[in-house]
Amino acid sequence: MTVVPANAGLSVRGLARRFGPRWVLQRVSLEVPAGGALMLVGPNGSGKTTLLRCLATALKSHDGVATFDGRDLWTERRELRESIALLSHATALYDDLSARENMVVWARMGGMNVDVDALLARVGLPDTGTRPARAFSAGMRRRLALARALLKSPRLVLFDEPFTALDPVGRDMLGSVLRDIRATGATLVLSTHHPEIAGPYCDTAARLEDGKIVWRGLPADAPVVMGET
């Protein structure tokens, strides 16, 4: 029997993070209910990536608290990392290995028993044989990174600009992957410069500017600022 805590889902209160003398996140508060999906928009350098990295426990926050299912993200990071998947610009791929080898290596290191070929097919990566990831195009690397993130069966999914570098076919594929993820009941936070593409897969949206949340609302109403896309 699993007990669902009262404050299930992601809860962020007053999260702040500095780099050197600059506060990159200035007290951000968010609530994403379990199974909910939040879209983060905002210009470059507004702190979207830092926020996602703090939520993924890659960075320690300097102020505020973030909890997932009522457990503190930082103090219980060792246990929570099992159920958090982060897809970021840093793809964590080994450029010398082929697509399949990358998947096998990561599955083995995580002790995961997954059909990697099925996953590679799922993200629409054609059979690349022994070609090293170094020789891949940007879109193929994104697909491989996505397949790697899908190796986990996470309950908190953090995607940093997942739609970039993908062609229209890739975007449809990613959309269906996002729907599948949500169908498993996982909580989703994604950042994007394309609210019109990512919007349909999310319930709520927030806009970050200069490390502060300046707007909250529905994804469909997300303000489109010229020059940001």
């Binding site: 007053g14 702040a16 500095r18 780099f19 050197g20 003398p21 600059r22 506060w23 200035q26 007290r27 508060s29 102020d63 502060k212 949340i213 300046v214 707007w215 909250r216």
Partner: protein
């Protein structure tokens, strides 16, 4: 060495004179700036003043008062610089290690800044140790350098702490720099023992470690005075270095976090 009166026959020791002159200078400077009485705003200056006075006396004793060493003749006088610098190098690097462990356990910034200060002062002391050691070795052993365990292991230790400082200089992120310097400092300290043991097996001609028991009585007092002089001066130098590091850290510190804007 040179015929100057012994310290006991002097009405005022050179160290007392130096101390008095230093205090007088401070008083005069304060009066000329319109302050009524002298002030020493930082506590560490007291250590500096005492250390300087002790050093002047200790060196006077070492150069003039001390009897000629039985085996090493006049060159035995180098001991009064060499041995205290050896003791203090060990003490300061030991504290570097303690502060590094303290930082890794608590994450307090003050420990990181103290690791930085003690590393730098420790390197200065070990340079002094190496230099006086070489000047000691030339007339007694006939060579400036010998592959002796203590020589090699202190050199190795000095090099590894220099490596720690260059690692520190090559890292930009303050938190990362703090942790990694501490790790480097612990590594440098722990390697010391094994290196010492291995060079001892490798080759040894250096005399046994000096301790007050193996040295004649009048020399012990002179060594003690010099050791305390070095100790006080080291505390002063570390504290001054720490003030620089602290000022720098405060300059790089983020401004206070503004209150949250709610939308």
């Amino acid at each position: 060495m040179i015929s100057l009166p012994h310290l006991a026959s002097l009405p005022v020791t050179p160290g007392q004179l130096t101390g008095l002159l230093a205090i007088l200078t401070i008083v005069l400077m304060n009066i000329s700036r319109g302050r009524a009485w002298y002030h020493l705003p930082s506590w560490e200056h007291a250590f500096g003043l005492v250390g300087l006075s002790l050093l002047v006396d200790g060196q006077y004793l070492g150069l003039i008062d001390a009897p000629r060493e039985a085996m090493m003749g006049e060159t035995g006088r180098i001991m009064y610089v060499h041995v205290p610098s050896a003791w203090l190098t060990m003490v300061v690097f030991l504290f570097t290690c303690i502060f590094a462990v303290g930082f890794l356990l608590t994450g307090k910034r003050v420990f990181d800044l103290l690791v930085e200060s003690t590393t730098e002062v420790g390197i200065i002391l070990s340079i002094l140790l190496q230099a006086t050691g070489m000047l000691f070795a030339k007339p007694t052993w006939g060579v400036y350098w010998d592959w002796d365990p203590r020589l090699v292991s202190t050199t190795v230790m000095m090099l590894s702490f220099m490596g720690v400082l260059s690692l520190r200089a090559a890292l930009d992120d303050a938190e990362r720099r703090a942790t990694w310097t501490s790790v480097g400092a612990i590594l440098a300290t722990t390697s010391m023992g094994v290196t010492y043991m291995s060079v001892r097996w490798w080759r040894s001609i250096h005399q046994m470690q000096s301790s007050p028991d193996t040295i004649a009585k009048p020399m012990v007092l002179i060594l003690r005075i010099n050791a305390f002089a070095f100790l006080f001066l080291s505390i002063w130098l570390i504290a001054r270095r720490w003030r620089i590091a602290d000022a720098q850290a405060r300059m790089d510190e983020a401004p206070p976090l503004p209150p949250e804007v709610t939308v």
